[in-house]
Structures are given as C-alpha cells and as structure tokens.
Symmetry: C2
Subunit: 207 residues, 2 copies
C-alpha cells in the first residue's frame, strides 16, 4: 500500500508517518519510484502499536523508541527482552527513602514475588506509598496486600497469554501492548466501579 | 509558618509556591507585613495535595485547578461533588464507535454497575478496548469481567473508607487522592507481579 493508504488504515496523519520514518520508529518502505514507496501489513501493525503506546499508554516518542528497539533487538534472552521493554514503559521516579524501600522489600517478600532490585515499578510503588503516608492515608501491609492480591492472578494469566511459538519480537509486542492497554482497562473499570459504589453509598446524603 | 518553611515542609520550591498563589491554586496567607504572610497547616496540606496530583497523578495544573475548585465549592450535593472531582482526573478521549459503546454498556449491565452515560471512564475503557481489538487482542466479555471482578471489591472498600463526619472538602480530597494514588499502587503492583510471573515462566527459555 502507499503512504496515504497506510495513513488511512492506521489513523495516523501522513506528516506524522513521515516523521516516524525519519526518526526510525517505522522502517522504510520498499522503494517503487524516486519519491514513492510501498508499505505492507508489518508497517501498519507497527504504526498501530506506536499509536497505542502514545495515545493510550501516554508514552513519549523517546520511550516508544526504546520499546521498539527492544522489540527489534534479537540478541537478548526473552526474559530480559521482556524486562527491557516493560521497564521502558515506566516513567522515571525519584529514589524513595530507605524506610519506604524497606517497606516495599518486605511487601514483596511477604508476597513471595521475586523482582529485580532495579525494577522501576518498585520506585513508582514506593513514591506512591510515601505520598499516601504524608497525606495520612492507609499504607498498612494488609491494605497493600489486598491490592497485590487483586492483580496477582490477572498478572499470571497475562503472562500465560503470551503466545508460544511466536517470534521474540511478537512476544515483546504482546507484553508491551498488554501492559499498557490492559492497565488502561483496569484503571477505567476501577473508576467505573468507584462511581457505582459511590452512588450506592452517597446518593441520598444531604448537600 | 513563613513561605520558606512552607516550601521546606512540602518539598515545593518557593517560586512554585508563589506561582500557585498567583494562579489561585493556593489561598493567600495571612498578611503579617507589606511583603510577608503567614501560612498554616491547611496551606501545607493543600500543597502536598497539589504535588500528589501533579507528580503521582500526572495531572495538568488546569485539571488540578478543576479538582480544587470542586473541593472548595460547597453548593453541590456530595455525590455530584465527588463525581466532578473524579471526572476532572480523567484525560479527555475521543468518542468511541457505537459498537464499542454498546460493548461497554453491555459489560456494565452484566456487572450491575450503574454509571452515568457521560462518565469519562466509559470512553477511556472504550478507547482501550478498540485499540486492543485492532491489535487482535482478547476483549471478550469473560476477560473484561475478570478485570472488573479484580477491582470491584477494592473500589467498594475504597468508597467505604471515605471517613464519615468529615467536611465535604475533606471527603472529596479523600476520594481524589485515593483515586490517583491507589491507582499508582495498583498499576505498580501489577507490573511487579508481571515481572515475577514472567521470570517464573521465561527464565529458562533459550535466547
């Protein structure tokens, strides 16, 4: 297909497609004339992935590039590759205090989760816990464990859904898309559930 | 306390505090001299809230202002007030197709959740579902219901944790902080759980 068809099918404007081509986010098409190229399903798939990562995941183009580079790099073992891609999804966060670090470590130990000491989600969790604590909110191990239990089985089935016998690139793409998009699903459903339960509880309260 | 003490206690730089004062995000202090004012615990609490919303919640200052205005507006019934504040937290999203809209509606009906037709989380959910579908991923009612079940009890206990006998402003603040910060906790824990389960499953796969 031509660049205009690619734009139409992906919903990404032509100038943006050209920008992605220049920045190396999208591989060049097959040249068919001096100023024309042909694109295929792979290009379309990659464009939809970029759109998903930026629009739904809220990733910067720099983070998208890091994820795509991880997908295209076939030297790393699969587990590390999935880790690189997943870590690129996390926004950088200040290092939490040793106390909070210890609380995160204790929680992970209680849960029996083995997680790299440099996993960025540890910091994200620690930062949120520190702020909740500053604001006088509940960050007791029992409360945190309830949140952990809510996602444990989901995460296990998400990992189990990574298709077997696919290319490593496809596996990474599966994990990255799943991490970002099902997070959006999970967060939206939580807000809808909050609205439902809030209406049940507060509907009849006086102004 | 003086502005420098307020800055030190909140971790927000003095020029930023002054900016918030100018923009009306933070109420003025009590004037003690021509160019000096005294601030109290309320100011500190509000500053920590602004910091939580921007740094952890990723909210724009415009969205923060909408949330703070909802907190300070004491004319709305509590349920609507909580809705306004929670809706301000949601990033604007394009309207999904009628098919996706119908799928969201059917899901909510199956769950028995009563949610306003204009709830922005409906669109966020629909947009994520549409993208997952485009990318060939599972958005079957059974899968979505598993995500919904994972957050249903959490959301109910989050709503139940809104303290009774507090001012309406404090109730809104409780909901807003809880929505944003426990979302960060939930998402970070999901990623940590994914890493754990991914390591268990893929550690020994060949490169």
């Amino acid at each position: 297909m031509r660049i205009s068809d690619l734009s139409g099918a992906s919903g990404v404007a032509v100038p943006t497609v050209k920008y992605y081509l220049r920045e190396g986010l999208l591989p060049a098409g097959e040249a068919t004339a001096v100023n024309q190229a042909r694109y295929n399903e792979q290009h379309l798939r990659r464009l939809r992935l970029i759109r998903a990562l930026t629009e739904i995941g809220g990733l910067s183009l720099r983070s998208v590039k890091a994820v795509l580079d991880a997908i295209d790099d076939d030297r790393l073992p699969l587990h590390e590759l999935l880790g690189v891609a997943q870590y690129a999804l996390e926004a950088p966060v200040d290092e939490p205090s040793p106390e909070i670090d210890g609380a995160v470590e204790a929680l992970l130990r209680d849960l029996g989760w083995r997680v790299d000491p440099d996993a960025p989600a540890r910091r994200t969790l620690g930062r949120a816990m520190a702020t909740l604590q500053e604001l006088g909110r509940d960050v007791s191990p029992a409360t945190l464990a309830r949140y952990a239990d809510a996602v444990d089985a989901l995460a296990a089935s998400e990992v189990a859904s990574v298709p077997k016998g696919k290319s490593r690139a496809e596996s990474v793409e599966h994990v990255v898309v799943g991490t970002v998009l099902y997070e959006a699903v999970l967060d939206a459903l939580r807000r809808l559930a909050q609205e439902h339960h809030s209406a049940e509880r507060f509907r009849n309260e006086q102004p």
